[in-house]
């Protein structure tokens, strides 16, 4: 994924991406965005994240469960 192929600059600014948790591995989770992009994401900042949850991700960290 390049830095600026979404609506805004996702690398350094304040744009976060909504993703779905596909698979959990401790505090890490494989997450998929609506455009099919798949990333390994830190989910340790959220309690009780489960597969299928939708989370808001910024720089590979899930900040909010939606």
């Amino acid at each position: 994924m390049s830095d600026c192929d979404h609506d805004g600059c996702i690398t350094c600014g304040d744009v976060a991406i909504e993703m779905t948790v596909v698979r959990l591995d401790g505090d890490l989770a494989v997450c998929e965005a609506a455009d099919g992009d798949v990333r390994t994401v830190e989910v340790g900042l959220l309690d009780g994240v489960d597969e299928g949850d939708r989370v808001l991700v910024h720089a590979d960290v899930a900040l909010v469960r939606q």
Binding site: M1, S2, D3, C4, D7, G8, C9, I10, T11, C12, G13, D14, V15, A16, E18, A34, R39, T40, E42, G44, L45, L46, R54, L56, H58, A59, D60, V61, L63, V64, Q66
Partner: protein, 371 residues
Amino acid sequence: MKFVDEFRDAELGRVLAGKILATVEPGRHYKVMEVCGGHTHSIYKYGIDDLLPENVELVHGPGCPVCVIPMGRVDDGIAIAHQDGVIFTCFGDMMRVPGSNGTLLEAKAAGADVRMVYSPLDALRIARENPDRQVVFFAIGFETTAPSTALTLKRAKAEGITNFSCVCNHVTIVPPLRALLESPDLRLDGFIGPGHVCTVVGARPLAFIPADYHRPVVISGFEPLDILQSIEMILRQLAEGRCEVENQYKRVVPAEGNLKALEVMAEVFELRPHFEWRGLGFISQSALRLSNAYAGFDAEQRFAVPGVRVADPKACQCGEVLKGVIKPWECKVFGTACTPEHAIGTCMVSPEGACAAYYNYGRFARERVVS
């Protein structure tokens, strides 16, 4: 797409524009600052300013972290990148930010091993894969991004990774807002608050704006209807003589923020006594450095850096743009010597920068014809 399509509905946009028109007081000029670069980008991408009455002016704030990084910090990064055995990692748009003697991209062309990463975790992965190299991450961003750096450093420490370090340029949003409110250059009527920063810090840190400066704040999402509704909420507060922090972005921003993120940031970072902001000068306690417990990961201690303050190019007026004193097209070099392809100023580098947003969406052409 959920949370996106329904916030781009043109008919609802026209309804909100009508409400805004009905709320403003004729003859009064309103200046509303969107703090976040993401908002600036959306405003010009979707032409939101075209839907506003002429007496409602949007002023672009300092919330693009690339735009506020001073040239001296870029020089420090380039100096590290050129050291033997270093793999220097940074976000993509950081690579094009000019220092006093070129960019990280030019350093890469000159032989330095500079790599673009999407997150600090990517940089840590490179460190694991290259145990014989020193991997440095150029950390930048507001409170939205700082948890990612903090968690990565915690992971590096737990794994005992010793070839990873970080140039910490993380900044915090409240001190520059206070500096702007204290500035005699600028009279602002209200603020569109930074939605994703508030997912981490919550609404409370912005409470000083209505409490101390009697200005309304509305924490806003990033879709066009989010921004229009936030502007309407700010204007309604003004019409009703109220000033408070309201949360338009409740579907994402919890009032208390993310307490775990704040805890991990408190463990890994501490406030710098002062930090230079491009265009705003030195602002006390406005940035983060690594705490003593993580000092071993501090690239500024591990490597020799110039650490020299460098004045901005004389032709560049990013400082005035960042303070909202002038509009991007009023800069002497906007769209001529300074373009996204050959940026002189940082505001033209990042897509979230006000100049790049104007330039990329053609807003400047109309303004120039008018002028």
